[in-house]
């Protein structure tokens, strides 16, 4: 359960304060599928970073399961990221010198899980994304879609409550993008809260709700199947 109250994030760029997020109020229930849309520079990624505890709001309160994130110290935030949140990135962020299986194993190594247990969970996570046969391949030997599926296995191997995806299909052709989206949907069906930042209406329309960010504010909230209502608005914004 995520509860954002009057979240603002201001960056200092030279002498100018830049308001990346302004007065965000939002609740996201456990198991919801939310898409965040908006033109470039609207604050989508900043919002995702705050949700993922990689960044802190300048003002406002972020409750995650009845805990105030702003009050947590660095070590506690690390634990939140480790156990409650999974990340998927546009550029996969796989470690190139490690095989697919080793990439998936990475969070469990640093969480101090015993080796024998890790092996079983890696196999399970790779199986869930259909890549058991590619376990020993290095990222360079995998296609873009396969890389993103490895990243997905890595993001979920610690069994988080929330999965944050930043343009997960932005670097994929439509066929492998669809495979990744189907996997995300399935994980969401199993109870994972899914928050996706995207430009792509085909990605966003799968969501329960779509938040449209403009200039750091939530401008519209629509259901996923009513995406047509906001397409014109997004097109306008992109032109300006």
């Amino acid at each position: 359960m995520i509860k954002l109250s009057e979240i603002s994030r201001t960056f200092q760029v030279g002498d100018e304060p830049v308001h990346a997020l302004v007065d965000i109020n939002e609740e996201i229930r456990q198991g919801e599928h939310v898409a965040i849309m908006g033109p470039s520079g609207s604050g989508k990624s900043t919002l995702l970073n705050i949700l993922g505890c990689l960044d802190k709001p300048s003002t406002g309160s972020y409750h995650l399961d009845d805990r105030e994130v702003a009050e947590l110290d660095e070590a506690a935030l690390t634990m939140v990221r480790r156990h409650q949140i999974g990340f998927v990135f546009q550029f996969f962020h796989l470690v190139h010198r490690l095989s697919a299986a080793e990439n998936v194993e990475l969070p469990m190594i640093f969480a101090g899980q015993p080796r024998a247990e890790r092996r079983g969970r890696v196999a399970k996570a790779l199986d869930a994304v259909g890549l058991s046969h590619r376990a020993d391949h290095l990222p360079d030997q995998l296609s873009g879609g396969e890389r993103q599926r490895v990243a997905l296995a890595r993001a979920t191997v610690m069994e988080p409550e929330i999965l944050l995806a930043d343009e997960p299909t932005g670097n994929l052709d439509s066929a492998s993008g669809r495979v990744v989206l189907d996997l995300l949907d399935r994980m969401n069906d199993e109870g994972l809260t899914l928050i996706v930042v995207t430009h792509d209406p085909k990605v966003a329309h799968r969501a329960d709700r779509i938040l449209v960010l403009v200039d750091g504010r939530i401008e519209r909230r629509v259901a996923g199947d009513q995406i047509s209502e906001i397409l014109a608005m997004l097109a306008d914004e992109d032109e300006t």
């Binding site: 990689l54 939140v80 990340f87 990135f89 470690v95 190139h96 969480a111 101090g112 610690m158």
Partner: protein, 399 residues
């Protein structure tokens, strides 16, 4: 995170960049090997000198004319009295604890046999010199065991002199001319090389009185005194000094114990070894800077990876320990390889120059490795801290 996991992950971080890792390893290897080789050379020099002293005989006192001290009034010291044969004979007579006394005089003179001539060092001494200095005779005999002032016209020649002047003939029994004097050769020395600056292979030895006649000289160069036991050395030195002071009317001689010389030399060369080690340690510091450089490059190249690790819930301390471990692994491996390279180089040196007993002292081996590891960790700290403090958002963007 277990230590085994940490080591495995850090090791992969290093092997992922083979060339870079190898180059910074090389720096440490050279540094550690340099410490080993240089200290081995210093230690070898020390042992060499000790061996030289040992080969000159033990429990020896050396009487040198002149007093080594600074006198207050200019000119008051004057020219010291000569050391004479009578002094040497008096020592034998007056001090019963003395085992043997060998007077010594030196000069250069031409040794001629037929048409062949060679200018060499002439050492005038007695039979006891052979015993005190442990000199070996290859053929014939040494100088006759006779009274000091009886100078027989005989000579013992070094093996090189024998080869050069006699050209294949057996020198023993031949008559040679030493300066204007005719001498019968009674023996040839064994090959023994240069000892304390004197080439024992290329000289002639004659009875001390004979030598003094050849050089037309009444003074001795040195008097060697050998004690039968080490414990008597100090007592003998005092007694000898007192006796000669009495005979000369003033203290114008110096009695040196060989042990004192040896201790001094050993101390000097030990300090030299230490200094060489310290110089080599500088190269280890340079290697440390190399490690820091490589780690900084590594951190900036792996900024995204650090960002990813942070997103995956890896703590600051864990990131710090990953990079520190990499630096420590680099310096440890480099140090170990350096030890092997150093030992191989020293082994090769000893094989080429067997007479030079080069060997790295244990303290240098331990210190080289310890300094290498310490340097790696110390210089790894800055890059590791930089990595651990990266802002995850900025790092993920690769900025």
């Amino acid at each position: 995170m277990t230590l085994a996991d940490l080591l495995r992950f850090s090791l992969k971080g290093l092997t992922g960049h083979g060339l870079r890792t190898a180059l910074s390893l090389l720096g440490v290897v050279i540094g550690v090997a340099a410490v080993l080789i240089l200290t081995a050379l210093g230690e070898g020099a020390r042992r060499y000198v000790i061996d030289q002293f040992a080969s000159l005989g033990t429990n020896l006192l050396i009487v040198v004319p002149g007093k080594t001290e600074t006198t207050g009034t200019v000119g008051a010291g004057g020219v010291p009295n000569d050391l004479t044969l009578q002094d040497a004979e008096a020592l034998v007579r007056a001090i019963p604890e003395i085992q043997r006394v060998a007077p010594l005089t030196m000069g250069t003179e031409q040794v001629a046999f037929g048409e062949r001539r060679r200018q060499v060092a002439i050492l005038g001494t007695t039979y006891d010199y052979m015993l005190a200095r442990q000199i070996e005779v290859a053929r014939g005999s040494f100088l006759p065991d006779e009274e000091m002032h009886r100078g027989s016209p005989v000579a013992v020649v070094g093996p090189k002199l024998a080869r050069e002047v006699f050209a294949g003939e057996d020198p023993v029994g031949q008559i040679v001319r030493v300066g204007g004097w005719r001498m019968r050769v009674v023996g040839v020395l064994a090959w023994q090389g240069v000892k304390m600056g004197v080439d024992f292979d290329d000289l002639a030895m004659v009875p001390v009185s004979t030598a003094m006649q050849i050089f037309n000289r009444t003074s001795l160069f040195r008097i060697l005194i050998q004690s039968s036991s080490h414990a008597d050395i100090d007592m003998l030195r005092d007694k000898s000094r007192r006796l000669l002071t009495e005979r000369h009317g003033e203290e114008d001689i110096t009695v040196i114990s060989q042990d004192a010389l040896l201790t001094t030399f050993s101390g000097i060369l030990g300090a030299l070894t230490l200094a060489l080690g310290a110089i080599a340690a500088i190269s280890l510091t340079v290697a440390g800077i190399g490690i820091m450089n490589v780690m900084l490059v590594s951190v900036s190249e792996r900024t995204r990876e650090v960002g990813l690790l942070k997103a995956l819930g890896v703590g600051r301390r864990q990131i710090l320990s990953v990079f520190l471990t990499e630096a420590a692994l680099l310096s440890t491996f480099g140090g170990l390889i350096g030890l092997v390279v150093g030992w191989l180089a020293i082994g090769a040196l000893v094989r080429i120059y067997p007479a030079f007993p080069a060997a790295a002292p244990n303290w240098a081996v331990a210190a080289a490795l310890a300094v290498a590891i310490a340097v790696g960790v110390t210089f790894g700290l800055l890059p590791a801290r930089r990595a651990s403090r990266l802002d995850p958002v900025v790092a993920l963007a690769g900025r």
